[in-house]
Amino acid sequence: MEEKKLPDVLEKETTRRAFLRGTATAAGSALAITAIGGIAPKKAEAQYSVQGVPGTKPYAQKYRFAERQNCTGCRSCEFACSLFHTGNVRPALSRIYLAKYKDIVDVPVMCWHCDDTPCINACPTTPKAIQKDAKTNGIVLDPKICLGAKCMKCQEACPAKYIRGNADTGQPLICDLCGGDPQCVKACMEQAGNPQGPCLQGRPVGIGVNMAFRDVTPDQAGKDLANLLFYPNVEGKRVVPAKTKTKKGR
């Protein structure tokens, strides 16, 4: 069918421009649909612009992205997250956390807010105990419905192996994007300030930022990072001193 149409299209004069325009519009609407689930609120929830540059327009941070090689391992994201959600600093209850790999790199482990929502699909309750907030794209947990530690189907389903259990209640810790203004991004933007730039970023769209990275476990991400930074010693093994010997204690 398409092959038949093709000559017709090419015969037209302004085909190329129209084609481009047409693609752009199509891609744009596809983006909007995937990214924000059909609702595009004009007012951005986030008060913080992505680039951290004063004067730039803030926009909704419906997805997050991590420049993993920029992570300094300072855990300010964990501190900010647990403070926002529990009122106290307690990284064990943070909805984002760092995984150490061979002591040489830290990997921020976080929710990518997938559009295909494997965790929500896996949730066995009716209605679902975890649901996406259509407005903010955050995943909200209803603690009254959630079955807690005995279930954890969401944990199994998560392709990034991100979800962990709450040490107190046993229920999953899932990212709700702080109602549209993710505190972890704010904290990282402010203080990481690596010469290369901060690690965490918020984005209005998910395409191209989450698909390539989400299906990777924290361990694999650590391996990737170690390979990127510390080649040829990707295991971070100590090379010196070669000679150690065991001697009985005095």
């Binding site: 090689q69 300094t72 391992g73 300072c74 855990r75 300010s76 501190f79 647990s82 403070l83 529990t86 009122g87 106290n88 600093v89 307690r90 990284p91 064990a92 995984a99 150490k100 790999y101 002591d103 040489i104 790199v105 830290d106 040490a167 402010e190 203080q191 990481a192 300030g193 690596n194 010469p195 930074l229 510390f230 080649y231 040829p232 010693n233 971070g236 093994k237 100590r238 090379v239 010196v240 001193p241 000679k243 150690t244 010997k245 065991t246 001697k247 009985k248 204690g249 005095r250």
Partner: protein, 608 residues
Amino acid sequence: MATPKGGNFGKVLEIDLSKQTFKTRPVSDEILQQYIGGRGLGAYYAVTEYKQGKNALDEDAFVFVGPGPLSGTMAVSHRTCFAHKSPYTGLMTHAETGAHLASEIKFAGWDGLYIKGRARKPIWLSIVNDKVEFKDASKMWGKTTDESHEMMVKEMKDPEIRTAVIGPAGENGVPFACIIVERFRAAARSGTGMVFGDKKLKGFAVRGTKYAVPVADNAKFLAAARVNKEANMQGEAWEGIKKWGTGGLMELKHFLHGSLVVKNYQTTWFPDIVKIGGEEAMRTFWKRHAACTNCPTHCLKLGVIRGGKYSGLVAEGPEYESGGLLGSNLGMTKFDEMIALIEACDAYGLDNISTGGVLAFATEAMEKGALKPTDLDGLKPKWNDGDTYMEMIRKIAYQEGKAGKLMAKGVRKMSKEIGKGSEAYANHVKGKELAAHDPRGDKIRAYSYTMGTCGGDHHEGQGPQALGMTAMADSLCICSFTNFLVYGAGTDKIITDMLNPLCGWNWKTEDYWTTAKRIMTTERVFNVREGISSKDDRLPIRMYKEKLPAGPRKDVIFTDADQKDMETKTYGFFGWDEKGIPTEASLKAYGLDYLIPDVNAAKKKYNL
């Protein structure tokens, strides 16, 4: 006895290694207000529990591992203090380290760990929230610090545990052995490793998930912590530390400041510094910046050597101290060899600074004929000879042969043993080697070396006020990079503003200074009891006798006038007399009346 309203739990974990038991040691809010935590609390325990002449390696000698009230909160505070009596110098001492250990101890619900006793067999401790386990360390004994760390992680099945371990040096009783925290950070300079080794304690691992630090007035505290953090994020000078760590100081101190240490403090001029300094590291070595808990100043730089003899070597540094003492102080011009020396010290659990001082002293003694190769098992150290230095480090760590046993004694005892005029270039203060700041070029650093509690330490504060502020910083367990070096004169206010809503105290800025003086004076009384007075508050002979031969501070010398000025200012500030003994009036003013008999007895004993 009031329980703390916030900042602290009022519980210190007391561990007895002999009986393999643990209990909660309550700490009252009154004591915490007076001594804060970390260094201050450790000094309080030592001065009240120890008698004069206590052997630092006794079975009931303790090591106090302290975070501070601000650890594990939104304030920038991430240091852990190891306070105890040093087996190296015989004085009160404290070693601080960064990383994530402090907040983890708080999240486990403790204000500190008080470790005493001696195990019969090597053990290590696992502390998970309220649970303490004594684990067999016979397989770890003899292993390097990173191997032990890895074994702990493996056994606990949790990569997020925070560890502090000793290496072979600590096990074998090297008096300048250190504690290595999370593989790359060190609590060094005070012989804590030797005390751990003597206690047959390989190390400990902490994991805290259960508790959050209580806060008396959350809204007010968060606002104050915000001020603290913003000051840190905006400090322009700290862009340098972020980018270069302290390694960037190597060129700066050489070309501009004239206080780099070169070849056992013979000069400060070493143009080859460009081959081993921060710029070379930036160009060829550093791959990653790493930060301590919640800190915007990510000063730790990790790198990897690609190619050459040490290809694949992953290491931290060079920092200014490690690169200065194991680089320019040994005349090193090969970057990878210097990094290998630093890494070897970390692996064996040796203090980089003291080791560098010992190696440089041995080299100069060899050059001047005071030492012969036969004294060092045939080794003949020369400047810039990385391979020989590597072998010497190994010998020190295992106290191997004549060389190892001699060098493991440290510079003071070495020079006493070999004699032959070596005292003239034995660079130590109160028995501890100097750090990488030549006090002729950096005269204000002499305060830190001589007037500080530990002796020979670069990190005790430059100037009388700074000595006090450092005492506070080490008790609050805040890094000086995120504390008074950023705030300057406003430090007292920023800290008081944070402490009041956090702990529910009612401090004024004067209380900050009284507490600083109280902590310094408590430690001073401890040292006075051990016989310290103004006669010991002196730099090495070289600093008074030999002019700097080259560099930006050519011909500068540390004069007697400088010394006198320093003594007057420091003793005056803390309320000590001209011999450096705390006066009765000032002891009373700081609420240290209980120490007056001790001071009087010491005065009588040492004829002061």
